[in-house]
């Protein structure tokens, strides 16, 4: 019964696991579209409706008694914006921040799939086959990364349509660096959330973890607001949050904001984040995936 051609290499079945997750996603365009709605609403709400840039424009800013000419107010407010956000276009600032946001939300739901697989017996089925243990997790991480990046591309396209303006230095190279940073972020975050889910059999627990982590991770980063104006107690948190570094890279590359930490350092930070968490994730899955 032994036959030729059986692939028992360490990576066999990895693409099968990955593609299974992707299939569920592209076979169900509705879920795909729903997942894009949130960042787009945020771009609309924060970027357009509550446009901080507008507050400082000559139309809204006027000091009674001091009859300052429009020109002065305008250039003054441009200066304020520039020194706060590193760009005079708050919409662009925010829209780029939404890229790491969509990556975070996409990665977060990846942990959920392993809880369902455990609950519905699919995980056990996988574990009775010669599929290498690590590939169960690697496939999940990989599919989550692919989903996150596709969503980031779409969010970026929509932001461009809504008026995101690239810096003068913008090139294909800057786009590549940005997506490399987002890739690393997705890799690390997916591994993190899958790791948190690995022993869990209850999706309620997983939901609670997600809710506990998502908004703090988002707001304790520079996605909406620059670090330098944050209170001193928040700064250390923001400075370890990988989202901050992904935003640093994306903003420097796409809209020319000079980052608080250099692009090189930020990329290095993300490389370490992704490497550590994916190694730990795969190691833990080896150890804990079966009971």
């Amino acid at each position: 019964m032994e036959e030729e051609g059986i692939n028992s290499g360490p990576l066999h079945g990895l693409w099968a696991v990955t593609n299974r997750e992707l299939k569920k996603w592209y076979k169900e365009p509705f879920i795909f579209i729903i997942s894009l709605v949130q960042p787009i609403i945020w771009i609309g709400l924060f970027g357009k409706a509550m446009n901080l840039g507008e507050i400082f424009s000559a139309g809204s800013l006027n000091i009674p008694g001091l009859d300052l000419p429009k020109q002065i107010i305008d250039s003054l407010s441009q200066e304020v914006l520039k020194s706060t956000f590193g760009t005079t276009n708050y919409f662009s600032f925010l829209a780029v921040g939404m890229l790491s946001f969509i990556v975070l939300f996409s990665a977060m739901s990846s942990g959920m799939t392993i809880v369902w697989d455990r609950r519905l017996g699919f995980l056990n089925k996988m574990l009775t086959t010669p599929l290498p243990r690590g590939n169960v997790i690697m496939g999940k991480v990989l599919s989550s990364v692919i989903k996150a990046l596709v969503q980031a591309v779409i969010v970026l396209l929509i932001a461009v349509l809504l008026g995101l303006t690239f810096s003068a230095q913008f090139s294909v190279f800057s786009l590549a660096i940005t997506f490399f940073a987002l890739f690393l972020l997705a890799m690390g975050l997916s591994s993190l959330f899958i790791m948190l889910a690995i022993k869990s059999t209850r999706w309620e627990t997983q939901m609670a973890i997600m809710n506990l982590l998502n908004l703090p991770l988002l707001f304790a980063s520079n996605a909406f607001y620059p670090v330098k104006f944050m209170p001193y107690w928040l700064k250390p948190v923001v400075m370890v949050n990988p989202l901050t570094y992904a935003n640093n890279v994306a903003r420097a590359m796409l809209i020319g904001v000079t980052p608080t930490a250099s692009v090189a350092f930020s990329v290095l930070y993300l490389v370490s984040f992704a490497a550590i968490f994916s190694f730990v994730g795969i190691f833990l899955s080896w150890k804990y995936i079966s009971s």
């Binding site: 019964m1 036959e3 051609g5 059986i6 692939n7 028992s8 290499g9 066999h12 079945g13 693409w15 099968a16 299974r20 299939k23 569920k24 076979k27 169900e28 369902w116 519905l120 017996g121 699919f122 056990n124 089925k125 996988m126 574990l127 009775t128 086959t129 010669p130 599929l131 079966s290 009971s291």
Partner: protein, 335 residues
């Protein structure tokens, strides 16, 4: 003739240091045999299968599948076994075809081989048409048959079937067993199966192990098990009641127990009822007693089961089917 492909010695599983789910069981299954594990809910059947298919780590003891130790070399064991678990495991968001091909990829079977094999297997279980649909649209019987096909994609030497017919109607149950029989006769596959249905165990298994509270109480062929519970039962009715009737009956070789019922019937437990019945009639005729009625019943698995576990499995069947229905509802509620 005996060529054990599964060898289990002192296999034990203790959950959380307290629950002795499987308690030092030992048994052997011969190549090409259909071996049944029969026992009430919580007896340890699924846990035993879990240890043999490398999902659970035994607390103690050893198990060899075709000479390979399940704890020392689990990945080699996985290549030669097929598993059809108690739960439905297929991914409901994928089609039947996608599911079986997915499992084929997990085994690393090259695409050209797996495509052909998958369509053969789907044909065998009668799902060729349905395989293009998402599994969520399948009925319970279709899902079972798909699980069976998925468990066979690697042409396993040993197939583990955990409650393959639970919750199915009689026709589907028969169909599943026909498939199982075919696997045995055509491929000489060894099959370890658990079931709640006594008639199925009786009819289709070559040997049965009765398991209760984590221990194997008795393992033998269905024939021997039935013979073991004290042989056949003969009930007779005679015209007149004589004092010496009992004495005369006791003298007949093969009669082990006599009971006078209040309604005038006499119930005898005998070894080899077919041979003893004429003897009874002759002995009584010699005493000028007329036998007006005689019935011979052979013991069923129910009696075997009652004798060894002190329980009636029929009452338990309902509860386990209820649990099963509940699980299915839960799956549906997810989406």
């Amino acid at each position: 003739m005996t060529d054990p492909i599964i060898k289990v010695v002192g296999l034990t599983k203790i959950f959380n240091h307290t629950v002795h789910a499987v308690d030092h069981i030992s048994f052997e299954v011969n190549r090409g045999e259909i071996f049944g594990l029969l026992g009430p809910n919580g007896a340890g059947k699924s846990t035993t299968i879990g240890m043999l298919n490398t999902l659970l780590k035994p607390t103690e003891g050893t198990a060899l599948i075709d000479g390979i130790d399940v704890t020392k070399n689990p990945s080699s064991v996985r290549k030669i076994i097929g598993v059809v678990p108690q739960e439905y495991t297929a991914d409901e968001d994928l089609t039947g075809w996608e599911n079986i091909m997915l499992i084929a990829d997990f085994y690393g079977i090259p695409r050209d081989i797996s495509r052909q094999r998958a369509s053969e297997l789907l044909e065998m279980v009668g799902l060729t048409e349905a395989s293009k649909r998402n599994v969520e649209t399948y009925s319970g019987g279709m899902r079972r048959r798909l699980e069976l096909a998925m468990g066979l994609i690697n042409k396993p030497r040993v197939l583990f079937l955990d409650e393959p017919t639970l919750g199915l109607d009689v026709q589907t149950r028969t169909a599943i067993w026909e498939h199982i029989r075919k696997l045995k006769s055509e491929y000489n596959m060894t099959i370890l199966v658990t079931t709640h249905y006594l008639e199925e165990a009786d009819e289709f298994c070559d040997r049965i192990a009765i398991i209760d509270k984590g221990k194997i109480i008795k393992a033998d062929t269905p024939e021997n098990l039935k013979r073991g519970v004290g042989g056949d039962i003969i009930t007779i009715q005679i015209t007149k009641d004589g004092k010496d009737v009992d004495l005369a009956l006791k003298g007949i070789q093969g009669v082990t127990e006599i009971k006078n019922n209040s309604d005038g019937f006499i119930t005898l437990k005998v070894v080899d009822g077919g041979a003893v019945a004429p003897e009874i009639i002759r002995a009584l005729t010699q005493m000028n007693l007329n036998v007006t009625r005689l019935t011979l019943t052979r013991p069923t698995m129910d009696e075997v089961y009652m004798t060894y576990t002190g329980r009636n499995l029929r009452e338990e069947q309902t509860t386990s089917e209820e649990t099963f229905t509940m699980r299915r509802t839960m799956r549906k509620a997810r989406s």
